[in-house]
């Protein structure tokens, strides 16, 4: 893996956004060959999306030939609800860029047949030629997307019941009323993300530090599903200093040295 450590949340978000931008630009997507991007929601990627919008508005980055696949969506929440992931993606990203609406894929948590919806999503990813870069975050309990502790590390897109930790963490978006938080979600599986050609996990904040430790310094374990990416050939973890608080000094020193080299490489084709 690569572990890129930046000083704070804003710098980490900017680095991640630049990485995505550079990947798309060097890929040179066309109508015959789209760039496929997996996307997260939540507070962590918020600043990253802002940066991507900035690069688009300045003319450096177009999403015309980019297909996106979001990781998850709540079950049973009306699509127009301000806390649905459709609303999040529209307000924080899609409405500011030039992506073709037909290429923006988000699971429909109100589908008549949820299992069929998940199967179609997997098929859509396959039809698009697989995912070039899947961007994700990590939950405080080490989950990727809604693959809660105990999820199979070879799982596919499916319906999941949310863990208590997750519901509590999400309550702040529902007026701190636990009864209003959805209890189920549709999510890509760990296996689905593992199939991508490249994975980038963005982790910021001291409250995620323990999960990061478990994900990269401990063993591969279905209780901390992000740990599965230890077995992916191309994974980057992008963090701020606070997120590294539970790591060994040795780990941090090693990767900080590497980061300097990486940044030099990137500035050369910015």
């Amino acid at each position: 893996m690569r572990l890129v450590i930046l000083e704070d949340y804003d710098l980490a978000s900017e680095w991640a956004a630049k990485y995505i931008r550079n990947r798309i630009i060097t890929f040179r997507p066309t109508a015959q060959r789209y760039f496929t991007l997996g996307l997260p929601t939540g507070s962590t990627p918020y600043a990253c999306y802002k940066k991507l919008i900035e690069y688009h508005k300045s003319g450096d980055l177009s999403f015309k030939y980019v297909k996106t696949f979001n990781m998850d969506e709540y079950v049973g929440l009306p699509r127009a609800h301000p806390e649905s992931y459709h609303s999040y993606m529209w307000n924080n990203f899609f409405k500011h860029v030039d992506i073709d609406p037909a290429n923006a894929h988000i699971l429909d948590g109100n589908a008549q047949d949820l299992e069929a919806e998940c199967a179609v999503f997997e098929k859509d990813i396959a039809d698009a030629g697989g995912i070039d870069l899947f961007v994700g975050g990590i939950g405080p309990d080490g989950h990727i997307a809604f693959n809660e502790p105990g999820s199979s590390l070879v799982s596919r897109t499916r319906v999941k019941t949310l863990a208590k930790d997750t519901i509590v963490a999400n309550a702040r978006f529902f007026g701190h009323d636990l009864s209003k938080v959805p209890t189920m979600a549709l999510t890509v599986g760990v296996g689905t993300v593992m199939d991508s050609r490249e994975v980038m996990i963005v982790i910021t904040g001291a409250h995620k530090a323990f999960a990061l430790y478990k994900a990269i310094e401990d063993g591969v374990n279905h209780m901390w599903t992000v740990s599965a990416f230890q077995q992916h050939p191309r994974t980057i973890f992008v963090c701020d200093e606070d997120a590294t608080l539970e790591l060994r000094v040795k780990t941090v020193k090693y990767f900080k040295g590497e980061t300097e080299t990486l940044c030099l490489v990137f500035t050369s084709y910015q």
């Binding site: 699509r79 899609f94 073709d100 609406p101």
Partner: protein, 382 residues
């Protein structure tokens, strides 16, 4: 980029780089219009997988709902209450000119007149949608003749009327010749027999306004309970506020307004009809009820010296916030949302909510008008 044709083939316009009046504030958001109505872009994106056919750059301007003037007696040499060969043409002429002031819908107002005038004029002034030809006519506002002698103001004394003993709207039908195309009636509730009139007018969907009256608070409250919902030019042509009987003015803070209903009040915000300090007292007491009106007369728009009514020339410079001390969004709402709510049409006009008619005004930070749109079509530009 054409929109997906699954729901509609009509072209979609996206107003970009603007600040829109939404949820009582100015927000940096785009506004989407299709088929003359404001469109929900999120639904367009996810349901139809559609996008805009063209984008209009507003240059950072404020985009607000078009203004609605519920009290306009004429202008530019036209007096709606003076019968001419073609009253309809007079209304149309004024309707076209007021687009320059951002007014997209209005109620042509007739002051106290003899029945012959009403019988001649009313059938010619029809409710109609606005467009490039002019602002929309929402219906006629009949100010009088059932008003108080003491508070007649500039209304001609010899044509004032009372309701008589029969009750109901028959005396009105006699005088006016009918209530078609009438959206509002101003009357004095202290006149005997007014209760049944107010009740029946309200039931017919006509807005009842209290004005040119010496009613006390009690009489005014009763009228509100029967259905009255507006006060014509607050402070003018009514008893002054008195601390032991606030009169009609007391409706602003009355606790005898039926639940779920609101009393609106018209203000001529030219700094002349009402002292700005009095305006501020009213606004602070009941900000949600303020409705800005021009009460413009035929001299509006003419150079000084040409008017014949002997009243001051009231130059209207858009509906400027003479209501000093209220914010820009509040002033804008007083000229658009509140009159729409008063007339019961706020689901369609006076707001930038999805589904509303795209009647818009574009203005800079000094509230100087740059362009006017009706149903999404540009009808005037500076």
């Amino acid at each position: 980029m054409p929109s997906n044709g699954s729901v509609s083939d009509a072209p979609i316009t996206q107003f970009i780089n603007c600040r829109i009046l939404k949820e009582h504030t100015l927000q940096r958001e785009d506004l989407w219009v299709r088929d003359g109505r404001i469109l929900d872009p999120e639904k367009l994106f996810f349901d139809e997988q559609g996008y805009a056919d063209r984008q209009l750059d507003c240059g950072g301007a404020i985009l607000a709902p078009g203004f609605i003037d519920v009290q306009l007696n004429g202008g530019y040499g036209v007096d709606f209450s003076t019968p001419s060969e073609d009253p309809g043409a007079g209304v149309a002429f004024v309707a076209k000119k007021i687009l320059e002031h951002g007014v997209t819908s209005f109620c042509p107002t007739l002051v106290t007149s003899p029945p012959s005038v009403y019988h001649k004029v009313l059938p010619e002034v029809k409710v109609q949608s606005g467009g490039v030809h002019g602002a929309g006519v929402l219906g006629v506002h009949l100010e009088g003749p059932f008003i108080s002698l003491e508070k007649k103001g500039a209304h001609p004394e010899q044509f004032l009327r009372t309701f008589g003993g029969s009750g109901g709207v028959n005396p009105l039908l006699e005088v006016y010749g009918g209530l078609d195309n009438v959206s509002m009636v101003t009357l004095a509730p202290e006149l005997a027999g007014s209760q049944s009139v107010v009740e029946e007018l309200s039931q017919r969907g006509v807005t009842v306004s209290l004005g040119h009256s010496v009613a006390n608070l009690s009489q005014a409250e009763e009228a509100v309970q029967q259905g009255a919902s507006f006060i014509t030019h607050l402070f003018n042509a009514m008893l002054p506020f008195h601390h032991r009987d606030p009169g009609i003015v007391g409706l602003l803070t009355s606790n005898r307004i039926p639940a779920g209903r609101s009393v609106f009040y018209g203000m001529i915000a030219d700094g002349i009809h009402t002292n700005p300090a009095a305006l501020r007292i009213a606004h602070r007491a009941h900000p949600a009820g303020l409705v800005l009106v021009t009460d413009a007369i035929m001299a509006m728009g003419l150079p000084p010296g040409r008017h014949t009514l002997g009243q001051q020339v009231i130059e209207i410079q858009g509906l400027h916030a003479y209501v000093a001390g209220c914010s820009v969004p509040e002033a804008l709402e007083a000229a658009s949302l509140h009159p729409a709510q008063l007339l019961g049409i706020s689901h369609q006009k006076g707001s930038l909510e999805y589904g509303c008619d795209a009647d818009l005004v574009l203005m800079d930070d000094q509230m100087v008008l740059e362009a006017t749109y009706i149903s999404g079509v540009e009808v005037w530009r500076k």
